[in-house]
């Protein structure tokens, strides 16, 4: 009799403790849950005429951004812009392997990642190293002589492009 009372009380206490844990765990999970994706970022890369012919130029991606509690103009990353006549091609500077920022090697006429030595052609195609895909192309249009970018990042370390 006394034993069964003991075990019933024990179960009630156990259930109450589990309930208490949930009162904290559930709000904590909601509070910390993944923020919604920021999606595409629009940025003005400046006048087309300022860009050299067929030579990649690194330009910062500057945009108005709500960054948790602040709303500011921030540099979000950088892109390489290659002009061919009146046409522009824009590539993300982030290496698709682990996200290091690649450099344009003038002598080798190739993009090189300084971290794990992936290499890419001027058009962003992968030519060597651990990267599983080429540099990520970015959407850009020319309006009123200015290059307008719609910047989007993709998850690194995989062969396909999955937007972050």
């Amino acid at each position: 009799m006394a034993d069964s009372r003991r075990s019933v009380l024990g179960m009630i206490v156990g259930a109450a403790t589990a309930g208490l844990a949930l009162v904290y765990a559930i709000p904590a999970a909601i509070y910390l849950r993944r923020r919604r994706s920021e999606g595409e970022i629009a940025s003005d890369l400046g006048p087309l005429a300022a860009l050299p012919e067929r030579r990649p130029v690194r330009l910062p991606v500057i945009a108005e951004r709500t960054d948790a509690w602040s709303h500011t103009r921030e540099t979000m990353g950088s892109v390489f812009v290659v002009r061919t006549g009146s046409d522009v091609r824009v590539l993300d500077s982030a290496c698709p392997h682990t996200g290091c920022s690649v450099d344009w090697d003038e002598q080798a006429s190739a993009f090189r990642c300084p971290c794990h030595r992936s290499t890419f052609t001027i058009d962003g195609e992968r030519t060597g190293g651990p990267a599983q895909r080429g540099l990520d192309p970015q959407e850009a249009t020319v309006k009123g002589g200015r290059v307008l970018l719609r910047y989007r990042r993709y998850r690194s370390g995989r062969a396909d492009r999955v937007p972050v």
Binding site: L9, A68, W69
Partner: protein, 542 residues
């Protein structure tokens, strides 16, 4: 249960659990033994919610308030996390006093439990240190000005005071280093100390066991009855905390700290007794009050097991200390209730706080239309209510804004422009009442109303009203093209439209010329301006 057996062989944890649960309770389980367990729960509450808050906090002068406002206003359930942290702190003060009274009642500070008692007193002091350092972290008006009092008092202490003040402030003035140092104290130094002291406190308690009551009839064990009582008390404590947090939607957050503003500073409630003492002591005795009184009370409590008075004297002395403290705190509350100037200051501060929080929301997250109106209301209370009346709030020194620019308002205005509720209280007077037939007046009203937006207006009446405007000599004084200067008489083109109200806020003289007495409101953020415009234009639809 193979895994548990594996763990048992390697750790012997079962003996530990058994020892914990089989603690002997001479005299059996009692409700007044629950406070220690509730305090352990509250410490866990502070650790869990504190870690979650720290995950969203930036200890810098420019970001601290915004990061806390983000947690309070934007992060999902952030208000709940904040509220539980604040109410957990308040609960800890209440429960620790109950715990202390129970210990004195049971004579549990006596030999051989002196060290347990002293460690407990240090824990109580740590609790105050937690409260003091945490209060500043949001960098809001409340924390900023109340903490100034504390650091200045510390600076007035003999010998070490000035250096101590500079050390905790990170300089001679408040700034980034003040926040980073208070933060380091609050989340690293004090938690480390409190964990060590709690472990020591509990270990010492387990070494000596509970103090056996007189005339023991039976002996029981901690499990299950006392554990069940403790759990019940913990659940009750959490339920009360949750109820308060939901009612208040989190914890208070006043406007961002502004060193240049006036603010009716008050400490959090557990410091009110000390605050009250300072209010009534002459300046020359302020150190005696601020440092001497708590030190004296602490010394008496510390000496209790050494002097070892009779139980009746001990209960009387500790009861007197707690009683006087509670009375001082109550006196502070009562005095503030009766202080009209303080209450007005508080109301002003609360209005500013609402503006700050909603403007913040508008900046980083879009406001819903209900929140836009709420911001409009908050701005009215903070900036307009000293002259205008709206929705039963504010003082009437300028036109009342209930139903402003609605058809009924325009109609009454045309009949008596100098009435008290219109321009009667201002230097802008002298427009003659409009004396046309009821039908013609309806046409004029419709035309003026349509200036704020033509949706839902009677087009025929608007056209008729426009003709009347020219023939009934309105146009002798008023322009109606919306662009040319009215020479102190409002150009009625676009009256009460978004652009018209925006021009009014930027410079009321644009519409009312030299007789205007309304100040410019040209430092509003775009979101604030939009909220006021929206709030006013709601009146038009009444």
């Amino acid at each position: 249960m193979k895994i548990l057996d594996w763990l048992e062989v390697r750790t012997g944890y079962r003996a530990l659990v058994k020892a914990a649960l089989d603690e002997e309770l001479p005299g059996g389980a009692r409700a007044r033994y629950v406070f220690g367990s509730v305090l352990v729960f509250l410490v866990v509450n502070q650790v869990v919610t504190g870690i979650l808050l720290a995950a969203g906090y930036a200890p810098s002068v420019h970001d601290a308030w915004a990061s806390v406002a983000y947690t309070q206003e934007v992060a999902p359930l952030g208000w709940l996390v904040r509220g539980l942290h604040a109410s957990g702190a308040s609960a800890a003060f209440l429960v620790v006093i109950m715990h202390l009274l129970q210990v004195v009642w049971a004579g549990a500070y006596r030999k051989p439990r002196e060290v347990t008692w002293w460690v407990g007193l240090f824990l109580l002091a740590l609790l105050f240190a937690f409260g003091l350092t945490g209060y500043l972290l949001p960098w809001d008006q409340r924390g900023y000005f109340a903490t100034q009092v504390a650091t200045n008092l510390a600076g007035a202490a003999p010998v070490v005071g000035p250096s101590l003040q500079r050390l905790v402030q990170g300089g001679s003035q408040y700034g980034n280093l003040t926040l980073t140092r208070f933060y380091a104290l609050h989340v690293l130094v004090l938690p480390a100390l409190i964990v060590v002291l709690i472990v020591g406190h509990v270990a010492l308690f387990r070494r000596h066991g509970i103090t056996p009551p007189e005339n023991i009839a039976k002996t029981a064990r901690f499990y299950p009855k006392q554990l069940a009582l403790d759990t019940l008390a913990v659940v009750a404590c959490l339920v009360v905390m949750l109820a308060l947090v939901v009612r208040d939607h989190g914890a208070p957050l006043s406007a961002p700290a502004d060193a240049g503003s006036g603010y009716e500073a008050r400490p959090d409630w557990y410091f009110l007794p000390l605050f009250e003492l300072l209010r009534h002591l002459p300046g020359s005795l302020e150190l005696v009050g601020a440092l001497g009184a708590p030190l004296l009370a602490g010394a008496v409590l510390f000496a209790l097991p050494l002097l070892d008075p009779s139980r009746r004297v001990a209960v009387g002395v500790v009861g007197a200390i707690v009683g006087v403290t509670v009375l001082l705190g109550l006196a502070a509350v009562v005095e503030d209730r009766g202080d009209g100037a303080y209450q007005r200051g508080r109301a002003r501060a609360e209005a500013e706080a609402r503006v700050a929080r909603l403007s913040f929301r508008a900046r980083v997250a879009l406001l819903s239309s209900a929140q836009t109106l709420e911001l409009g209301d908050a701005l009215f209370d903070a900036r307009c209510a000293s002259c205008h009346v709206l929705g039963g709030r504010g003082e009437a020194h300028a036109p009342e804004l209930d139903g402003w620019a609605s058809r009924a308002w325009i109609d009454s205005f045309l009949l008596a422009p100098d009435a008290q509720r219109f321009f009667g209280r201002t230097p802008i007077r002298g427009m003659k009442p409009v004396t046309v037939s009821v039908e013609d007046r309806r046409d004029l009203v419709e035309w003026v109303y349509a200036q704020g937006g033509s949706e839902g207006t009677d087009v025929a009446r608007v056209q008729a009203g426009e003709k009347l405007f020219d023939t009934q000599s309105c146009s002798e004084c008023h322009e109606r093209d919306g662009t040319s200067e009215g020479n102190g008489v409002p150009n009625l083109g676009g009256h009460a439209s978004v652009a018209w109200i925006e021009a009014l806020l930027a410079d009321p003289g644009t519409h009312f010329g030299k007789k205007n007495a309304m100040p410019k409101f040209d430092s509003l953020s775009p979101a604030e301006r939009a909220a006021i415009v929206t709030r006013l234009r709601v009146e038009r639809l009444r």
